[in-house]
């Protein structure tokens, strides 16, 4: 069968399930006795197993199955969660993740998981002796065909059946035998289930549905079924399925249901009793050793669990569909075309001066700006999709460094453009690792500094204007100016004179200089030479900025500022002679006109006065070799004051055209990077205008 069409769906859903497994395991680690979390984990693992088995990824299914066995014991309170169980399960999750990753990259999803499987099996078999052994045995004996007359119902299922009988539905006990020579018994079983589910509901089957799907049954299965159908008719219908040998349908009333259930209980207990005695004395020790461990564990992570309730409640199912990102790109491109036409229409309408036309065009403009909002929103993804892997990462990292760290995430619902989301993950990982490795002190240092043992890393995301801020703030040792300068001098990043003249901000920015690393020890976590300079380069390439705020001894805050979107920006259109350029509005402080005598020359550089300070006047016409414009020939020059961080500069231009929403386009692959030009856009008249990158002009 061709599975390709389902593969992407499988990968998406597997990742979702792995993510939820990870999250809930962390929650559970915070409150190991909360069985409702175990239920959620179990369901995720179970679905994952089913999907993997259907898609034929057997290793994946086998490992999930083993994990499920452990979880099943926990769920039924036959096994208490302990530290090493968590570790084993986490290891299992990692293995699952790498398998899914392999599948994503076109592999077979195969991996040697025998080690993990063995330790999982050991947990099921040995570690928790009496109850687990009995439970596991009972399970296998239940799936044994000889025991098929007795299905054990849990309280809930029993009450459902009971209620159904009371409500006048028919409760049937169905026993199906498939012919011994049947090749595809799972398929036949499936056909029976399919048939049944068309006119009623299967409450419980033995062996379980998933075991049947995987052909883990001999030649028969039995089930409880609620329906309105006549038993004889049902029997006939099931027999119509090919290769069915024998069907017994028995209608139950409340009394017989009770009897059946007791029979089920009895057979289960019998199995348990048979297995248990030999291993009677062990549970005491396990239980006592488990208890204090739990108590210790509760303290630290529970606080983090308590602080993220918004997140778990935010997981309510929303009505969504999955759309290929490429289709959204196409939609975006088509919309860009529309936007260009809109600008063109607006131009034409203002030329023609026809009232009706102007009105129509205005209406269209309003609709299209609403449409633009929606199209942009479609591409927005909550930062949670990046953040969700961090709690796990911080947990592992803190463990390996022997530190105690709480990660507090706020604003995970903040949305960013998909393209930004895809790129921002690695830089954030880097910054977080830095925060835990270099920022948070070892426990001993923290105590002697009078801080609490557990360090806190705040990961915050929030909107502000046309930007999204992501802040990583820890209460660690902070950044010491002298330490940075010492290293910077040693590595030759700055000279002694420069160092003395630098402001604290400038010193902090030195952290982003290539080849700079302040940690004295090189650990495997960070400080591998590639450092913050890569982070900064990445963020800058996304049109963002990083700022560091730090108080020595108190902690550090890395603040990352990112643009909301990368594809449509507001820009000021200007004319330079016959050429038109676009300047992103985000870099513009204001526009002004200066007279010739206001321009001064300092050290050969032209300066103008702006709000009490002198800022350089940059000649675009000279930098870009514009032939038909030269501001020196004008008595009054239009200027645009631009900023890069705190620093200002003025660009001399010929004429303002106006403000416009422009669609960013690349210049094509053939041209090399051009300094000062970040891309191109298409104007209303169909011509191409270049977009300036003002940051380049300010050094």
């Amino acid at each position: 069968m061709d599975m390709n069409q389902y593969l992407s769906m499988f990968i998406d859903e597997s990742n979702d399930h792995l993510q939820s497994l990870n999250e809930n395991m962390l929650l559970l680690e915070g409150s190991p006795s909360d069985l409702s979390i175990v239920q959620v984990i179990f369901r995720s693992a179970h679905t994952l197993k089913g999907m993997a088995a259907t898609m034929g990824f057997e290793d994946l299914a086998a490992l999930t199955h083993q994990m499920e066995n452990v979880l099943d014991l926990v769920r039924n309170e036959k096994l208490a969660m302990q530290d090493f169980i968590f570790d084993t399960l986490f290891k299992g999750l990692d293995a699952l993740e790498s398998m899914v990753q392999d599948i994503t990259e076109g592999g077979e999803g195969k991996a040697d998981v025998s080690g993990i499987v063995a330790s999982l099996q050991a947990i099921v078999r040995g570690e928790d002796l009496s109850a687990a052994g009995a439970g596991a045995e009972a399970k296998t004996s239940a799936s044994d065909p000889s025991a098929n007359t007795a299905i054990q119902l849990d309280e809930f299922q029993y009450s459902v059946l009971n209620q159904s009988i009371a409500d006048g539905h028919r409760v049937l006990y169905v026993d199906v035998h498939i012919r011994e020579n049947c090749q595809l018994k799972a398929v036949r079983a499936y056909m029976v289930f399919d048939l049944l589910e068309r006119s009623g509901e299967v409450i419980k089957s033995s062996p379980s549905v998933q075991d049947i799907e995987q052909e883990k049954f001999e030649h028969s299965f039995s089930l409880y079924y609620i329906t309105q159908m006549d038993p004889a008719e049902l029997e006939q219908q099931i027999l119509n399925v090919s290769e069915i040998d024998k069907v017994t349908v028995m209608e139950l009333d409340q009394e017989s249901l009770q009897q059946m259930n007791e029979m089920g209980m009895a057979s289960q207990e019998a199995a348990a009793v048979a297995e248990a005695p030999s291993k009677e004395e062990a549970p005491e020790t396990t239980a006592t050793s488990a208890a204090p461990e739990q108590a210790v564990q509760k303290q630290a992570p529970q606080s983090s669990a308590a602080k993220t309730p918004a997140k778990s409640s935010g997981a309510t199912p929303s009505r969504t569909i999955r759309v290929d990102i490429e289709r959204l790109d196409v939609l975006m491109n088509l919309f860009s075309e529309l936007l260009i036409d809109r600008v063109r229409l607006e131009q034409l309408a203002s030329e023609v001066q026809n009232h009706a036309l102007t009105e129509t065009v205005e209406h269209m403009s309003r609709v299209s700006s609403d449409l633009q909002d929606i199209v942009m929103k479609l591409r927005m993804v909550p930062v949670d999709t990046v953040f969700n892997r961090f709690p796990r990462m911080i947990r592992d990292l803190a463990k390996s460094l022997d530190k105690k760290v709480d990660l507090i995430i706020t604003g995970a619902e903040t949305e960013l453009d998909r393209t930004v989301i895809d790129e921002i993950g690695d830089p954030l990982v880097h910054l977080l690792r830095n925060a835990v490795d270099h920022g948070i002190e070892p426990i001993a240092d923290r105590i002697s500094a009078g801080k609490s043992e557990t360090g806190t890393v705040n990961l915050r995301a929030f909107h502000s204007g046309n930007h999204v801020f992501i802040e990583i703030e820890e209460d660690g040792r902070g950044i010491y100016r002298e330490n940075i300068l010492k290293t910077a001098l040693k590595k030759g990043v700055v000279t002694q004179d420069q160092a003395a003249a630098m402001s604290d901000d400038e010193v902090n920015q030195l952290l982003f200089a290539p080849g700079f690393s302040t940690a004295e020890k090189i650990s495997d976590v960070s400080g591998r030479g590639v450092g913050l300079d890569v982070v900064k380069a990445k963020i800058t390439s996304l049109g963002g900025q990083v700022t560091i705020y730090s108080t020595p001894g108190k902690g550090t805050n890395f603040s990352v500022q990112l643009p909301l979107t990368l594809s449509i920006i507001a820009a000021m259109m200007v004319k330079m002679g016959s050429e038109k350029y676009a300047i992103p509005l985000s870099s513009i402080v204001e526009t002004a006109i200066v007279r010739k005598e206001q321009i001064r020359t300092v050290h050969g550089n032209k300066m103008v006065e702006f709000r009490g300070q002198h800022i350089p006047l940059i000649s675009l016409s000279r930098i870009f070799n514009i032939k038909d414009f030269n501001e020196n020939e004008e008595n009054e020059t239009e200027i645009i004051v631009i900023h890069k961080g705190e620093r200002l500069a003025a660009l001399a231009i010929d004429e303002f055209i106006g403000q416009n929403e422009i669609v960013l386009k690349g210049l094509g692959k053939y041209l090399p990077q051009i300094k000062g030009i970040s891309g191109a856009t298409i104007l209303g008249d169909g011509q191409v205008a270049l977009i300036l990158d003002p940051n380049v002009f300010i050094r």
Partner: protein
């Protein structure tokens, strides 16, 4: 064994050149070109081709030939090689011919002032027409341009 290929024929000066048809996307009349500052001298700028911004180069300039005025015969041939889309400004383009690859011969050192490495070969078509087949990958080779540029400085 060779095969039949279709070739777009265009002119630079009096010479006739050929590009395999499957590398050509479209042939356009002259379009408004936006100058791009601070780039290779033979890059005329960028054009808007149905919503896509494409750089155009003057093929005469690329081959170091004298650049002429544009006429109503001037065409922009949009080619796509190695994921790059580039427009070539040529004097005229008005023919598509079938050519057997066996008839393409290794070029002499210099043909019409163009170095042999930019050429795939020369084919004789008709009685005294010579068709010069371009090696597009080499024409668009950027590393060589960078060397060329640095020599000029």
């Amino acid at each position: 064994m060779g095969e039949e290929i279709k070739v777009i024929v265009f002119k630079l000066g009096s010479e006739e050149y050929g590009i395999e048809v499957d590398k050509v996307q479209t042939i356009e009349r002259m379009l408004p070109i936006t100058r791009v500052p601070k780039t290779y001298t033979f890059v005329r700028g960028v054009i808007n081709l149905r919503g896509v911004v494409i750089p155009v180069i003057d093929l005469r300039g690329r081959f170091g030939l004298e650049e002429g005025e544009y006429t109503d015969q001037t065409r922009i041939i949009i080619v796509a090689v190695n994921d790059m889309e580039v427009g070539f400004i040529v004097d005229s383009a008005n023919d598509v011919i079938d050519l057997h690859t066996d008839r393409i011969e290794t070029p002499p050192e210099v043909v019409g002032g163009i170095k042999a490495k930019y050429l795939d070969g020369v084919a004789k078509i008709g009685d005294d027409r010579l068709l010069i087949m371009l090696n597009l990958a080499e024409v668009l080779n950027k590393s060589e341009i960078i060397q060329l540029e640095s020599l000029e400085e």
